[in-house]
């Protein structure tokens, strides 16, 4: 356990830029945009008249209305964090078993009494837990700062932020839901993480190319053969990966329901699962047949990555 933690810390140190600086920059951008919009309003709005009206209008709505919409806004604003997190994890995993082979520092790491299994576990856990957790924590921090700024604004026009939204909206619920969705997505995307680690352990150079080219070629062949046989183009690897993302427990899109926009898990392109953002729906995905098959695929890829890692120092 001590060794695993030391290895995970080493991953954090090596990838501080991606894992820590990136979410901080996004949080900074959120806050900067908020401040910019305040200054823009203050600049054009005569004595904040429109803003005051907007706050009064909001205050006149029922607490239930404010609670639901506040919750949706809080969760919905995580989208940019989530998308960037996906990119960070993608490139982190591609480099995880490649970079130290490239600069030959693998010879140092292999001189330490840490097994290849433990090394791969540390990299997988960094992608599955450490990265989402840091993004989540910075997101929470950003929202606290933004709530503070908003409260000052509301106070400045003579309204009470406590009764308006602070006491009405339950931030813990939104934050907990986001964290649950992040961690569930980490499990859901294990087959893809496994593939990336396999490529990372295998690629002699340019892992990105090796990660994308084989599936693309495979899918194109599938489409072509299918087209020759049946003149249809469904059921290929593109569709499978697309469905996988659409079915994922990450909060990625919104859908229109009963005339109202609602946040959705994945994308509502198909109806294999219920897309409403609830804990039950998140768990439903994790205990599905798809997940079981995905874990099987992930196990194959990870075993391959381990096998390659074991032989990585052969010249």
């Amino acid at each position: 356990m001590k060794r695993l933690i030391a290895l995970i810390r080493r991953e954090y140190w090596e990838n501080k830029g991606a894992l820590r600086t990136t979410p901080l920059v996004i949080g900074g951008i959120y806050i900067a945009f908020l401040l910019m919009s305040i200054f823009t309003t203050a600049h054009f709005d005569n004595e904040m008249y429109t803003f005051k009206e907007a706050v009064r209008l909001l205050a006149s709505q029922s607490p239930e209305f404010r609670a639901t919409h506040g919750y949706e806004v809080m969760l919905g604003s995580s989208l940019f964090f989530t998308v960037v997190l996906a990119f960070v994890v993608f490139f982190y995993l591609l480099g995880a078993l490649y970079d130290d082979r490239k600069d030959r520092s693998i010879l140092f790491w292999k001189s330490l009494p840490a097994s290849d299994t433990l090394t791969i576990a540390s990299k997988l856990l960094t992608a599955m837990i450490v990265a989402p957790f840091i993004f989540w924590a910075v997101f929470v921090l950003t929202q606290i700062v933004m709530a503070g700024i908003a409260s000052i604004m509301v106070l400045s026009v003579g309204e009470n932020p406590w009764t308006l939204f602070l006491s009405v909206v339950n931030p813990l619920k939104a934050w907990a839901m986001l964290l649950a969705s992040y961690l569930a997505s980490s499990i859901w995307f294990l087959p893809i993480y496994g593939w990336l680690l396999l490529v990372s352990a295998f690629a002699p150079r340019i892992p990105l190319l090796f990660a994308l080219l084989p599936p693309v070629i495979f899918a194109i062949l599938q489409i072509w053969i299918k087209f020759l046989k049946t003149f249809t183009v469904n059921n290929n690897l593109f569709g499978l990966v697309g469905d996988w993302v659409a079915n994922s427990p990450a909060i990625l899109t919104a859908e229109i329901r009963d005339g109202e926009g609602m946040l959705a898990l994945g994308a509502t392109l198909n109806h294999d699962f219920d897309h409403a953002v609830t804990l039950t729906n998140i768990l439903d995905r994790l205990f599905s047949l798809q997940m079981l098959a995905g874990l099987g695929v992930a196990a194959v890829f990870l075993t391959g990555a381990l096998w390659l890692r074991h032989r990585a120092t052969e010249s």
């Binding site: 060794r3 933690i5 600069d103 520092s105 010879l107 292999k110 001189s111 009494p113 097994s115 052969e314």
Partner: protein, 285 residues
């Protein structure tokens, strides 16, 4: 006592070429063994097999373990510096020490800091900010702070200046080495290590060309320096190798009576470098 390293028929193939060709060797504890061979002779391949960094054929046991299966647990008692220093460039010195301390049960931070105090390296330095020599110093400090039974050094002082090379071998001998420890070392700078070695292994084309303790070397090999008029007589005694220097003929003999040689000219114990050249030349012919 069981040997630290024992190999039987150790073989390493790369495609159709044999990098290591059915080597048998036994290295007992408490020795400093020089593994010496020309480039491409299979030294690094043999070391990689010993360190669990490469698969191999044949039998190999290091500290009673199979290195290809038990690398992680083997590394608790084995340290190595492979080729040139290969420390990750992004890491800071304190992070490196922290990580090694957490992962390695035999690592002593105190000892490491003591070695580092003789250098200009600070804890806050990043490896990429250090010169090549300083990186090697850092790596050596880390490794020498580990209480290991076997230390494997593959060209450990490459890129270091002569002052530090001398200092390194001195502290290796005085502070690090004892009867419990075994050091396996390869280098091209044979002259620098010959006075600390207890055993020699010459390797050529994947095979062992010579395996002997330094005492055996001293008793077996004789270098004879003669004036030109005695050259024919010396040649008749079947020397391994002959060269000329300042008009003198120098011969190297394997297992020839010293008294007979002494009659022809001056006799010495050959240097490891000369013995190496002679052995390689004999192997080529």
């Amino acid at each position: 006592m069981t040997p630290i390293i024992s190999a039987r028929g150790l073989t390493k193939r790369y495609g159709r070429t044999l990098a290591v060709d059915h080597i048998d060797m036994e290295i007992p504890a408490g020795r400093i063994v020089g593994l010496i061979g020309p480039n491409g002779a299979g030294k690094t391949s043999a070391l990689k097999a010993i360190l669990g960094l490469a698969t191999f054929d044949g039998e190999l046991s290091v500290l009673g373990k199979d290195p290809s299966r038990d690398r992680a647990s083997l590394m608790e008692d084995v340290c190595f510096i492979a080729d040139v220093a290969v420390l990750p460039r992004w890491i800071r010195v304190w992070q490196l020490i922290d990580t090694t301390e957490q992962i390695h049960p035999g690592f002593s931070r105190e000892t490491c800091m003591q070695y580092l105090s003789h250098t200009k390296i600070t804890l806050d330095h990043k490896v990429k900010q250090l010169s090549k020599g300083m990186v090697a110093q850092l790596h050596l400090a880390l490794v020498m702070a580990i209480d290991a039974k076997l230390l494997v050094l593959d060209e450990p002082t490459l890129g270091l200046d002569i002052l530090y090379r001398k200092q390194f071998y001195t502290s290796l001998l005085n502070d690090y080495f004892d009867e419990q420890r075994t050091i396996l070392i390869t280098t091209h700078q044979v002259e620098e290590i010959e006075h600390i070695l207890t055993d020699l292994i010459f390797i050529q084309d994947g095979k062992i060309a010579l395996e002997a303790s330094m005492e055996e070397v001293e008793s077996r090999y004789v270098e004879l320096m003669v004036k030109p008029e005695f050259a024919e007589q010396a040649r008749a005694l079947n020397p391994m190798y002959e060269r000329e220097l300042f008009g003198r003929h120098i011969f190297l003999f394997d297992n020839v009576e010293r008294d007979r040689l002494a009659e022809l000219g001056e006799i010495h114990t050959p240097s490891v470098a000369d013995l190496f050249v002679a052995t390689m030349k004999r192997g080529d012919s």
